[in-house]
Symmetry: C2
Subunit: 569 residues, 2 copies
């Protein structure tokens, strides 16, 4: 039984490719032997569902297809019947790329018939099994946490669910099981994991979904070495199962400060070079107004060395300047180092000795192109980080073959807080349950934004696959963080009172992580987030297939004690 | 590291039982050797968290505890430190049964420290692994379906989630992934399963939760033999893994009509006998007004034979009559069969020959007690079904040891529709996507309530563990069912239009099931539903631990375009 993939009438013979999840099988009807079947087969169209009986036989010599697993056989039909018909398709499955994504999402059940889509879901299933086998083998328990939870917003906005029994009260859908997994540690469950759906009502970027899946993990009595080793063994197995490659353990660890200053990103792609260098000191003495005024304002000059690219034409260099502008950089100063010396607008404005020193720091050789950006340190680093990545894409600096030599590493020592540039108020970089390094205790009261947290990320090929931290288990320290965040006592009590109370009943030290499962599958397949989820939503959080969200029976809203308030026009 | 379970000062020695998920370990301090540690240990209280170092050594001969896995060793401490303290406990963990369930739910993280609770969650994790390994080995894919779905109420009430982006529109939380799994079959995914949370906003009975977990399964091109065999192999593995027993396959199949007429229940417990018999014909000729008037009104007499219980005293028999009243039976007529003949109020009112015929049908022997109930067939069967079960409990007719000889069987041939006794309107017994037996086609138009569906249940020890059906895959048949259910065309289009459309694009025949995962764990442990879920809710759908549902920031509601309408007093 299966779907008619194609029917071909070749005069004397009728061939039907019967398709299912496992591949295609060639059915054949000989009209001279079975004119009845031939007549019946004439009605068949693509995507009809049929049940067929016949005799499996070797294909005639010239018709064997070695590249097809069923290419050596065919089935000569003795009977068949139609189980269901199919309307004319809204798009051709063999040519889905030509259809709009809207159309493919509306007819998702047709798009999912394509082998590429099915392979992705098969891979996803296999990877979920790898995850579960890994954690089970290491003594973890998968424990289901609730979906109807208390609203304790952690940065993003909660999806709310009105209570019918308690008028005016609401559940939230969990942004993550963070608090519940901490409570499981307090309950002595010791090693917990869960592959679990999470929800964030955010304005969606193209790589986000309102509901997403994470592998949620927590370990009692753990330091970050324990967590890291657990994750490293998992990714070793994932890459072995998905790509058949062996990766080296342990993964390198880089500080947040190091990756920001060297790559301009907290999740840099290290499959190519182009490290950044702060060459400000060498360029301090210059008549070049654009540099000197920036440096007087406290700015910096960040450079990278593009090896062997001194040969780029003026036009090509000018394209790089345009590329820089798409990275929120005001501009970029090119400086060529050739066998004859430096070339570029800096020559004559900065002494040869200083240019040489800058080039030396950038490890530039004759034939290289140096690219410099000037401005406020944080924004220039960020801009150069994006620029570096776009250069790599434009010049294909990493092999397009994803399966080779992935770059995996930890980023550690994140700042505990982010500081709003304008209000100077601080907010948690990770979440308010994140611990910090003991050696930074003295900074907490006076300069909290300098405190380094015990949070960490795992980065693969420029994508953050995992995020976690060692938590606060001391109730006083947790209360201290809420004070620093200036959450009023009553609000702390209302939102987090039950967690603070639980910490007072013998909470163990604990740490954990949340692995982005959709992202992991994306990293393995190179697909978009909508490719790795069976029934995804659009950027407006709609499902085009079933048409949700939708209006509902007004009686339902009455029962929930709510009324719709139309937005003011 | 772990929790101080108990500290005992025995004059010369201090013993500390250190507890974690894996058991208890005895720590010992010799005050004369380490007075510093002894002083420190004096401060320790139950449930404090400590880190201890010491030397593992054999216990002195008289102190070995063979029944404890760590009973042959102890750890002589060389140092320890307190990682966290614990407030005085709201209830004693060793004596939790004395605490109210409210208190235990509020401090769920403490209740979960009890070994019985931890064992249940460990069993749940192991059974989830058995389920996943089973379906993976049989070629099924676990595919995640969405949680923010279209509201298409299937009997129970949906939980709703307001959309922020589309004012006045709502998502629903899925009551089950029913439609999505059918779409996966249409998508060619062939064999699907998922361990998935489902949601029903119902007034809760004590064995229900607003969110519950089911093992959701669907198979394309399947008849019920395929589904049954898949489920039977799964339960074979579950019972082997949980109880170490081997059960006989295949499970018996009984029709709905048979179990209703023989046991007065569609999920009877067959671990004991007490079958029901309709003995109406034998008792038709009687002067007994209570019987004759009931029979004239079309009623029936249903009896059961309670073996060896003719010896019950008048008082004991009268207790059975009271028990019958708790089962919605108007009363019960006892008839004793002794070596001397019949005894009871029927004697003389019904001829000896007729009594003998009734007794013969009930397979009664001298020494047995016959119990008869009279009234409308459906309610008497139901009442006797409940009575039969209560008799078994009262007289302990089944072994209290759950692990012996569980009774597992299928119930098939359910009616496709239920009919409201008053309005005579029909509603789906299962859900509107359920197919029916081809031989009942002719009944559909005229007597739809007589049509037998292709739905089935699996019953174990009187509990429905699984429910499923072969679905409708023909779009015309599906539309026909919606017509019979008198759902207006516009509403069908609005609620189910996308499914009807999908059926027109080459839907394969399909069938499946939903296994109650919480119920399965309950059947394995004998616990309540709140015992088998880590963080359960009360009958009012509240979480006493975190205090949800709760009020939320009014700005959140504004953003969701909704306002609370307080109920009128």
């Amino acid at each position: 039984m299966g779907w008619v993939h194609r029917r071909r009438d070749l005069g004397g013979l009728i061939f039907i490719d019967l398709r299912d999840r496992y591949g295609k099988t060639q059915l054949v009807v000989h009209p001279e032997r079975r004119p009845d079947l031939a007549a019946q087969a004439h009605d068949l169209h693509a995507e009809w569902v049929i049940e067929a009986d016949g005799v499996v036989q070797a294909r005639p010599e010239g018709m064997v297809k070695r590249d097809l697993s069923s290419g050596e056989i065919e089935v000569e039909l003795t009977s068949f019947s139609v189980l269901n018909r199919c309307l004319p398709l809204p798009f051709q499955l063999d040519d889905a790329a030509k259809a709009s994504e809207e159309l493919r999402l509306k007819y998702r059940y047709l798009d999912l018939r394509r082998p590429e889509m099915q392979e992705t879901l098969v891979l996803r299933h296999r990877m979920a099994n790898v995850v579960r086998e890994h954690f089970t083998a290491e003594g973890f328990l998968e424990i289901e946490t609730p979906f109807l939870v208390k609203s304790t917003p952690e940065g993003a906005r909660d999806y709310l669910v009105p209570s019918r029994i308690f008028a005016g009260q609401f559940y939230a859908l969990p942004q993550s099981p963070q608090i519940y997994k901490q409570l499981l540690m307090i309950a002595g469950m010791d090693r917990y994991f869960q592959i679990v759906r999470c929800f964030r009502d955010e304005d969606l970027r193209s790589d986000r979904q309102p509901e997403f899946t994470q592998v949620d993990v927590e370990i009692a009595f753990a330091d970050c070495d324990t967590v890291f080793a657990t994750a490293e063994r998992l990714f070793e197995k994932i890459l072995r199962a998905a790509w058949g490659i062996e990766i080296a353990l342990p993964f390198p660890r880089y500080s947040y400060q190091h990756v920001m200053e060297t790559y301009g990103s907290d999740k840099p792609d290290l499959r190519f070079g182009l490290p950044l260098h702060n060459v400000t000191e060498h360029l301090r003495e210059t008549e070049f107004r654009i540099i000197s005024s920036a440096l007087e304002a406290g700015g910096v000059v960040i450079g990278l060395c593009f090896s062997g690219k001194a040969s780029l034409s003026r036009k090509e260099v000018s394209e790089l300047e345009d590329l820089a502008k798409t990275c929120d950089l005001a501009g970029i100063l090119p400086l060529k180092l050739t066998a004859e010396g430096f070339a570029g607008s800096l020559v004559g404005k900065v002494s040869e000795d200083h240019l040489r020193a800058a080039a030396a720091q950038l490890e530039a050789q004759p034939g290289d192109l140096i690219l410099l950006a000037i401005g406020k340190k944080s924004s220039v680093l960020k801009g150069m980080g994006a620029f570096r990545r776009k250069l790599a894409e434009k010049f294909q600096l990493f092999r397009p073959d994803l399966h080779q030599n992935p770059s995996l590493f930890w980023v550690v020592d994140f700042p505990l807080f982010e500081r709003d540039e304008e209000t100077r108020e601080i907010a948690p970089s990770h979440h308010p349950f994140t611990g910090w390094l003991r050696e930074d205790d003295h900074l907490l009261a006076g300069e909290p934004w300098k405190v380094r947290s015990t949070a960490y990320d795992l980065v693969m090929n420029g994508s953050e696959l995992l995020s976690g931290s060692i938590r606060i288990h001391d109730p006083q320290q947790q209360a201290e963080i809420f004070r620093l965040l200036k959450i009023p006592d009553e609000e702390v009590e209302l939102r987090f009172g039950f967690l603070l109370e639980a910490l007072r009943y013998g909470a163990p030290p604990m740490g954990g992580m949340a692995i982005g499962f959709d992202r992991t599958i994306m990293a393995l397949t190179g697909g978009s987030i909508r490719d790795v989820i069976a029934f995804p939503k659009t950027n407006l959080a709609q499902s085009l297939m079933d048409g949700c969200p939708s209006t509902v029976d007004p009686q339902l809203l009455k029962d929930l004690h709510i009324a719709v308030v139309p937005p003011k026009v």
